[in-house]
């Protein structure tokens, strides 16, 4: 039996439209799943029972009155880097564990204006950096979910929520989405305003949706994309109709497979799944071309990432550096180390970004999209965060961001979706990137793949068991109005 919590966003909107279920029914199904699974999954940081129930009741009325908006009644969650008016917004840090913003982030306002039902604020690595292992991977609770949008991804993977939002600076949406078998979209830099979102690195930060289908990420990007005067870096480029071409299929689509960088350090099982997925795309009309990215052998991408991240992070946290001891141990190490990035290294990194972009410019002159693995391996053990590349183990923090940080450095839109499993049953994700502001191409390719393969429909064992065994309706009267978990920042791992 399928519960409402197991439906995708577009499926939920259809059952609302046809009157088969109401937003209140769907919310209660999600709250039941959260109640049963979240003690293990730990995706939620702050749960908003009463507020969500009130919003869902309002949405139910709107559907009855034919006043439904684009995401009317869709339960969703926000990474706790995203400010919400009147609701604790911690950044995953004890420094802000009682911070109640006076205004919501633009992204949150747009979701509220579209009728979404905010269910909870979600776990994040402290200030979106480090390697907090407090949220496990729903596919195997001994495995790491990655991050920093760990709660956002785990909530979707565990079918607690159909839609969440995260941020991505070096891979914080794409990497955990790949590890946890869900769809994550990192839009073009500036496509989604960051006003009201706690920054990690101004020039690399992105915000985007996480869902279980490519179609849902397109639906939700439509709501949150667009210029905002409150964010001077938000793009003025017009927002496409992301659903217009999503069914266009693969005929005539030119796909580039990089011959440099992405396949150089890669677990064989991930490579096999990646190449199989590329063959599927090719056999259904896509033209596949090899694409060189020569700058990646000259310009050190890790150095660019670290120099920019460290310099901007140090500046951002200058005002609270004196409270160093209040940060978690992992972020303390980062913050101290960030003090020693020179201005010349920072400026060199900002300038060298463009050399990599020029490779991508040449690539997009001959292809519509680049297709790569989304991670170098599958999810590592939580108590031993190392990347397994065949029989070799490599430090995750040294190679884990290889496929993703380059996309943040270049600033193009990328999407990941599941394309297979390893021998342990852990998900493997493909990454598709396109020219700036061409998120529509990412959606077109991803949606076409999801019509041909159903890896995204496979359930983690804990969800399968829950869907089979539990159908009790969640009862509001048995619960408090809000649950606030304490912020967890400690980690025994010294990964940086």
């Amino acid at each position: 039996m399928t519960e409402l919590a197991d439906l995708t966003v577009s499926e939920l909107l259809e059952v609302y439209r046809t009157g088969q279920a109401s937003p209140t029914d769907a919310l209660k199904s999600c709250l039941g799943r959260i109640e049963r699974l979240d003690p293990d999954v730990n995706a939620m940081l702050t749960l908003l029972f009463d507020r969500a129930l009130t919003q869902a009741a309002d949405s139910t009325k709107r559907w009855l009155n034919r006043e439904a908006r684009d995401l009317e009644g869709v339960p969703y969650g926000l990474k706790d880097m995203i400010a919400t008016k009147g609701i604790r917004s911690t950044g995953g840090s004890r420094l802000y564990d009682e911070y109640i913003p006076l205004e919501s982030a633009t992204l949150a306002n747009r979701l509220e204006d579209a009728g979404g039902v905010l269910v909870g604020k979600l776990q994040t690595f402290e200030f979106a950096a480090g390697a907090n292992s407090g949220t496990p991977n729903p596919w195997n609770l001994d495995r790491w979910a990655a991050g920093s949008s760990s709660g956002s991804v785990a909530a979707v993977a565990a079918h607690e929520l159909p839609l969440t939002f995260g941020t991505d600076t070096g891979g914080s949406i794409i990497a955990p989405s790949a590890f946890c078998g869900v769809v994550g979209l990192k839009p073009t830099y500036g496509r989604v305003p960051r006003s009201g979102i706690m920054p990690l690195s101004w020039t690399l930060d992105h915000a985007g949706p996480i869902a279980r289908s490519v179609y849902d990420t397109a639906l939700s990007l439509q709501v949150i994309a667009g210029h905002d005067p409150g964010d001077p870096t938000s793009a003025r480029a017009p927002v496409d109709d992301y659903l217009d071409q999503i069914e266009a299929g693969l005929d005539g689509v030119r796909i580039g497979v990089p011959t440099d960088w992405f396949f150089e350090i890669l677990d064989p099982e991930v490579e096999t799944a990646t190449r199989n997925a590329i063959r599927v795309l090719e056999s259904h009309g896509a033209k596949v071309l090899d694409i060189p990215l020569p700058s990646t052998s000259v310009v050190d991408l890790h150095a660019i990432e670290h120099a920019i991240l460290f310099a901007e992070l140090a500046s951002l946290h200058e005002g609270t550096f004196a409270r160093l001891e209040e940060y978690g141990p992992e972020f303390q190490r980062l913050l101290v180390a960030s003090q020693f990035t020179s201005a010349s290294d920072y400026l060199k990194a900002l300038r060298a970004r463009h050399l990599v972009q020029l490779d991508f410019q040449k690539a997009f002159a001959v292809v519509d999209a680049l297709v790569t693995p989304a991670q170098v391996c599958t999810a590592p053990l939580r108590d031993r965060i190392v990347a397994k590349i065949g029989n070799e183990e490599r430090p995750m923090m040294e190679i884990g961001s290889r496929p993703t940080a380059i996309m943040d450095i270049v600033g193009i839109p990328t999407i990941t979706f599941p394309v297979g499993f390893d021998q342990l049953g852990l998900p493997i994700g493909l990454q598709v990137g396109a020219r700036p502001y061409n998120e529509a191409m990412c959606f077109r390719i991803g949606h076409a793949y999801q019509q041909l393969a159903d890896f995204h429909k496979t359930l983690p064992a804990i969800v399968e068991a829950d869907a089979r065994d539990n159908h009790d309706e969640w009862r509001a009267e048995m619960h408090p109005s809000v649950v606030q978990k304490p912020v967890f920042t400690a980690t025994e791992q010294k990964v940086w």
């Binding site: 500036g190 101290v336 003090q339 020693f340 060199k348 300038r351 060298a352 600033g411």
Partner: protein, 85 residues
């Protein structure tokens, strides 16, 4: 060809002086940890430092990367003309 060739290995003493210059006081253990983290990435940083960026046109400035994104990846210039033509 590297532009510069310096011994760039980070040291506790160098970091201590940098911290002092900024008015930041750090315990020796924290300084040592910071040095260790920088040493881990030093080879990569040296590779970045060795990348040659010309003084003469075409200029690559710190903001060029963000302008490139605005231009849809070089499709047009800031005035909206195709590919800078």
């Amino acid at each position: 060809v590297p532009e510069i060739s310096l011994n760039t290995e980070p040291t506790v003493e160098a970091f201590e002086a940098m911290a002092k210059n900024r008015g930041v006081v750090l315990e020796p253990a924290r300084l040592a940890e910071a040095v260790e983290m920088h040493a881990k990435f030093r080879h990569e940083l040296d590779r970045l430092r060795a990348v040659r960026l010309d003084f003469l046109p075409p200029y690559i400035e710190p903001a060029t990367a963000l302008r490139w994104i605005e231009s849809e990846g070089g499709l047009h210039d800031r005035a909206g003309r195709p590919d800078g033509k």
